[in-house]
Symmetry: C2
Subunit: 213 residues, 2 copies
DNA sequence: TGTACATCAGTGAACGCGCGTTCACTGATGTAC
DNA sequence: TGTACATCAGTGAACGCGCGTTCACTGATGTAC
């Protein structure tokens, strides 16, 4: 099965950046890679050539700003993790109840995943590219987002809504795994007979926050 | 970054099957693909050429038994789902308590995933290959495995250990998503500081089976 | 019993493709004197 | 004010690679007559 791939160049060309603004291209590349990911829904469609073409620049130009493809993809991930972090922060802004806040974060997380499934794949379903034992840059950004959740769990503990002798970080990992479970299954098997997705998600959330008051 | 790929042929050649045993090769191909997946831990290493070479046969021979690569990979998935199903059945064989049985299934599931991470990726973390709205063959096999869990949930309901007004199929989906969550995160981010994995898994399980007696 | 023929289980060589990446270069713009 | 030079922001062409897949073929084995 040959996958049709629009291989003709877009025709669009990007005007050369003025002196001192060479870094503008970096941002454009990053944006183009993200758009390609969102529009094609296929990581394999994000090739150096495809990104360059979308930006309106030649392929080697990518290497002026990223040493290799892996680094570019990592940068896309970091950006996405940052956006997720922002959304997680925003989600709790107007929520008073601390358990509701955690639920809102869970909902926001799954919404983000389903809204940008291919980003989510890249962030959390991909084989680790480099065999580092040290945490990657993207993972560090992820940890920042997790921090938002840990904060709320601590708050719930302080408010007596959650057993105070649990390590909030570990509770957060469990919650993460739960929302990741439902999000990634829905993404990986979109045609599976899940029934009502909203209902399914509510059940997961209820399971998570079950012993909260 | 160029990934080193052992591209020289193995040297091993498979003797031609006697007449009437042409289908033997099919089984060998399937086995070789599975081994390659397990040994390299990399789906991309499972190419038609690599599989053929491992079997000791030329690349076009693969097409005598599989119309294309996608079908071969699907067959590997079906086989793996079947094995998982067998394990799920075996897991509950000597377990009397019906809630313990469900817990044992959860544990078996995660063990399977971590033992064969690249199979698990192929089964449940891959982008759907063909854009069918109908469930794929592999998904149907997966449903069989889910059936094992649904049985146990029904049993637990009958025994009064679980609220009887819940649809056991939907409860099963929620449990599945929970164990998939922890399994797939551990697989996708092996270097993340998860802490004690066994402890993490127990917490997930406890969260799932929480309101069971 | 001998022989023409069909079938089976493959093979060797090639196809075209897109990929990541490198290399030597170009041409506009600023700066030093 | 004029001019040589450095720097910056790129480009065009090519590299070698492995991939899925197709095609025409081969040679051993069985079968019909």
């Amino acid at each position: 099965v040959i996958v049709a791939r629009s291989s003709q160049p877009s025709g669009h060309t990007r005007p050369r950046s003025p002196r001192g603004h060479g870094d503008d291209l970096r941002a454009d590349i990053l944006a183009a890679a993200g758009e390609l990911l969102a529009e094609t829904g296929d990581q394999d469609a994000v090739s150096i050539r495809a990104v360059a073409d979308r930006v309106g620049v030649s392929a080697p130009s990518i290497y002026l700003h990223f040493p290799d493809k892996e680094t570019l993809l990592t940068a896309v991930c970091v950006e996405a993790f940052t956006e997720l972090d922002v959304r997680l922060a925003a989600a709790t802004e107007r929520v008073d109840d601390c358990v509701e806040a955690i639920a809102a974060q869970g909902r926001t997380y799954v919404e983000f995943a389903l809204e940008r499934p291919e980003h989510y794949r890249l962030m959390l379903m991909r084989r680790p590219g480099r065999e580092l034992d040290a945490p990657t840059e993207a993972e560090l950004t992820a940890v920042a987002g997790l921090g938002r959740v840990i904060e709320r769990i601590s708050a719930a503990q302080a408010a007596g809504r959650l057993p105070p002798d649990e390590d909030p970080a570990r509770v957060a990992l469990v919650l993460w795994s739960a929302v990741h479970g439902i999000a990634s299954l829905l993404i990986a098997k979109p045609h599976f007979p899940w029934g009502d997705r909203e209902d399914l998600f509510r059940r997961v959330l209820q399971m998570c926050l079950h012993d909260f008051d």
